[in-house]
């Protein structure tokens, strides 16, 4: 795999991965901006509105016909939260040109469409169409409200909001209902132009076309991109300490049978000079996903040995310096589960794990990183994060580092971990609560 990174236009970076291994190519473009409650919903709404129509393909029917003609290519709005950066844009995937008859290669058609969606939306009098803005705004509102339908994701979102009240991190990727409801088409058009001019842009391509051809197609497609004063100081504020001395606890009710227990931890001093390999191995040892999961402390002890829950796992946000433990439990087991999770975190901090557990965690992290190189979408997420963290090593190099992580490295990565908040979502009606 050939990998290069180059600046196509001021503040516009292309990460290129050349390979003929895949039958699917992917192309994504993200405008990067600081996560902020006031603008998050506007930013989240934009790609949806832009995806409704361009000057050349003014509505969904015309856009769909173009995509179907490219052998059923997809290009969809993308909205992500990476630490305290909001990344909005488009993610496309399409059959790799190498698998199609000559002359049918979709690369240039796709870069042209991407450029049009970003820079040449269907407008009237220079303004985004009110009916597109209104209809996408309703969908955004609906999507924000629909978070409640996914109980586990909802519980995690509530934990973050309650745990980080004064931090940008409390804001969801989609923003909130109140600010979303207030968006009008005139203000959104103004915001769109400002965002285009000021945002650094990250583009990712993975496929068989040569780097120069991809760069030329993109430079051509983005020729009309306005570039003003770039907002280059966006980043994530890492809080090392907990907000109060001990963990704050929050409980909310919903009509559910299974309780959702979520614990939020600050990674603490490990974030001063984060050792990414050690952090990953530490998380895998505790209860991160991937191959090592079934040997992890949380799975083996909380789920298997004590049968306290159906699922329990930990996840890191290395940009923000957080670790979140999610679990689905019988509400009667709240205290027992919480204590046992704490106990396992403590074990990792103290190095109270076996060499075999450490070895499995290292292997799992390494295998996970190596297999990531077979999945273009995971490569894309990996490199977007690396670029934002200012790191330039690839998955293979990180895998090799993970294989060398020692017990001392894990203990150092875990040393400053402290629980900052506990959130519990469980069943039962409000009035019962009041009676109690």
């Amino acid at each position: 795999m050939e990998r290069t990174r180059r600046e196509l236009l001021p503040g516009v970076f292309l990460t290129y991965i050349g390979t003929d291994k895949f039958k699917t190519s992917i192309l994504s473009l993200h405008l990067l901006t600081g996560l902020d409650r006031q603008t998050a919903a506007q930013n989240a709404l934009l790609p949806g509105v832009l995806r409704r129509g361009t000057v050349a393909s003014p509505d969904l029917t015309a856009l769909a016909a173009r995509l179907d003609g490219m052998y059923g290519a997809h290009i969809e709005p993308s909205v992500r939260k990476l630490g305290e950066i909001q990344a909005v844009g488009f993610a496309a995937d399409f059959v790799d040109g190498a698998c199609l008859p000559p002359g049918e290669e979709p690369l240039e058609d796709m870069t042209a469409l991407l450029g049009e969606l970003l820079l040449a939306p269907n407008t009237r009098g220079g303004l985004l169409l009110p009916q597109y803005v209104e209809s996408e705004r309703e969908k955004l509102l609906h999507q924000i409200r629909a978070l409640v339908n996914d109980r586990a994701a909802y519980a995690q979102s509530r934990l973050l909001r309650l745990m980080c009240p004064g931090e940008a991190y409390a804001v969801d990727a989609l923003g909130d209902e109140e600010t979303a409801r207030a968006i009008g088409y005139v203000a959104l058009t103004r915001h769109y132009r400002a965002l285009l001019a000021a945002s650094p842009i990250e583009i990712f391509y993975c496929g068989s076309a040569p780097a120069d051809r991809v760069a030329a197609a993109l430079t051509d497609a983005l020729a009309a991109l306005p570039r003003g004063e770039l907002d280059l100081d966006i980043g994530t504020d890492v809080r090392l300490n907990t907000v109060e001395e001990g963990p704050r606890t929050f409980a909310e009710r919903m009509d559910v049978e299974q309780g959702k227990l979520v614990l939020g931890y600050r990674l603490g001093e490990a974030m001063e000079e984060p050792d990414m390999a050690a952090l990953r191995v530490m998380n895998a040892l505790l209860g991160g996903g991937g191959a090592a999961y079934v040997n992890s402390r949380l799975f083996v002890n909380v789920r298997e040995r004590m049968s306290l829950c159906y699922y329990v796992h930990s996840a890191l946000d290395v940009m923000k310096g957080l670790m979140i433990v999610n679990s689905g439990i019988d509400p009667a087991d709240y205290d027992k589960t919480k204590d046992e999770i704490d106990c396992q975190v403590w074990a990792v901090k103290e190095g109270a794990f076996t060499d075999e557990e450490l070895r499995t965690a290292r292997m799992g992290v390494s295998a996970d990183l190596l297999t990531l190189t077979d999945q273009p979408d995971r490569l894309e997420s990996f490199w977007l994060e690396q670029n934002l963290l200012g790191l330039d090593y690839g998955p293979e190099e990180l895998a090799a580092l993970a294989e060398d992580v020692t017990r001392a490295d894990v203990m150092k990565a875990a040393a400053g971990i402290a629980c900052d908040a506990v959130y519990f979502l469980s069943g039962g009606r409000e009035e019962e609560d009041e009676e109690n």
């Binding site: 995937d93 629909a146 049978e257």
Partner: protein, 422 residues
């Protein structure tokens, strides 16, 4: 093993049927780090009644899934740790039609393959381990019941199939799993985990002969057929009930509409039938279809809308699901689309898109190995898709839709937000 080249797809597949009846299918992927093997039995949540050694079994709902959980236990402990110790990710799932055990790894493929073959063919159930699992499975069942999108799907299948095995949840209920015993699990294993009822499908940079060799060594050599399953009376094509509406804590109403398509075809015809159905659904309800776009533009449907075709217990059925404030109106517009003629240029673009989707699926090891197993059990060669697709005409698709998708065929389940009912 027999090598078949598919030059248009830039790939080859190796297949064989072992003397014990096991179907083996390997797609080499040169240059890939990841390997995936799926060991699949043609036995799922719908296969509940059968006769084994002259004895009639009527097993509780959820037994195939319970068995899946317990297969990971071996006399020398859980097999999970063995995979994890080699950096391999192993898991399993149970559908109405099949139970699939699989792993993905970046090294030690043959060792992992031997472990997979060994544990799936080794029944080991004790009263204690079976008892311990009951709580974990009950939590999984409860979690599904709390999940509105799962609940709306289950309600729809219940409407379509009623008391037929496809009308009950694959995982069973907290009550039904109380009746699962080590003896029942052992009987189900003995009946359905025989090589002639299974398929081993592999994708990765591996030696196909080594896969076959491992299977020959690890599995019993004699050929035993799985017993016939009894699904009860033919479920017909009319829904048992037409609609159900209930409330849960959701932000907007969720709906799931379904239609029974009758007995599923077998052999090469099955591939043609599935592709015809897929094209028809895409032409009628796909993200480029006029009916979908009209509803989307009116705000009555959003991106959560999807449709899928499924096959189990010898039957085919389809579902349409999504979120909408007016599910009845949505369903009536979607079914009315069947009456509209399909534009020939639009049809050709849909064919191109289905072809593109198939090409891209070849990179998705999960889809690839599970679809190969599906082809083994239904009796078609998945990689003949391009040629079969090419032969399907616009008239075929219209005729199929007219035959199967009359408005009266659909059942509709809805889950509304709580305040709406008040």
């Amino acid at each position: 093993m027999k090598r078949t080249d598919y030059p248009a797809l830039g790939m080859a597949a190796y297949t064989s049927t072992l003397p014990n009846g096991l179907a083996v299918c390997v797609v080499p992927k040169p240059g890939w780090r990841k390997c995936r093997a799926s060991f699949v039995t043609n036995y799922g949540g719908a296969d509940r009644r059968f006769v084994l050694d002259g004895r009639r079994y009527d097993t509780p709902a959820g037994v195939a899934h319970y068995l899946e959980h317990k297969m990971f236990d071996m006399p020398d402990g859980s097999v999970d740790g063995i995979f994890a110790g080699r950096g391999a990710d192993s898991n399993a799932y149970t559908s109405y039609a099949v139970t699939s055990y699989h792993f993905t790894c970046a090294g030690q493929f043959e060792e992992n393959l031997r472990t997979l073959l060994r544990f799936v063919s080794t029944p080991y159930f004790t009263g204690q381990t079976v008892e311990k699992e009951r709580g974990i499975i009950a939590q999984e069942i409860v979690e599904g019941e709390d999940d509105p999108s799962w609940a709306v799907y289950q309600d729809c299948l219940k409407l379509l199939f009623g008391g037929h095995p496809l009308g009950s949840d694959v995982v069973g209920t907290v009550a039904s799993i109380q009746d699962v015993t080590p003896e029942i699990l052992a009987a189900c294993h003995r009946a359905f985990y025989v090589p002639a009822n299974m398929a081993l499908c592999v994708a990765g940079d591996v030696d196909p002969e080594a896969v076959e060799r491992a299977a020959l060594e690890a599995l019993p050599g004699d050929r035993a057929a799985a017993p016939a399953r009894d699904y009860g009376p033919d479920p017909g094509v009319e829904p048992v009930e037409k609609s159900r509406r209930r409330t849960m804590e959701v932000s907007v109403p969720l709906f799931c509409a379904g239609a029974k398509l009758g007995p599923a075809a077998k052999g090469p015809e099955a591939l043609r039938e599935r592709l015809t159905a897929e094209l028809a659904m895409r032409c009628l309800w796909g993200k480029s279809a006029p009916a979908y776009l009209e509803l989307y533009e009116k705000g009555l449907l959003n991106d959560s809308f999807f449709f899928e075709l499924d096959h189990a217990a010898g039957q085919s059925f389809l579902i349409l699901s999504g979120e909408s404030d007016r599910p009845e109106a949505v369903l009536s517009q979607l079914t009315a689309a069947v009456e509209r003629p399909i534009d020939p240029a639009f049809f050709l673009r849909q064919k191109k898109a289905v072809y593109g989707g198939f090409i891209r699926m070849l990179d998705d090891f999960f889809e690839l190995t599970e679809s190969m197993a599906d082809g083994c059990f239904a009796g078609f060669d998945l990689f003949e898709t391009p040629g079969v697709l090419d032969g399907i005409t616009c008239a075929d698709v219209s005729a199929w839709a007219a035959e199967h998708l009359a408005a009266g065929r659909f059942a509709l389940s809805i889950i509304c937000p709580k305040e709406e009912q008040a």
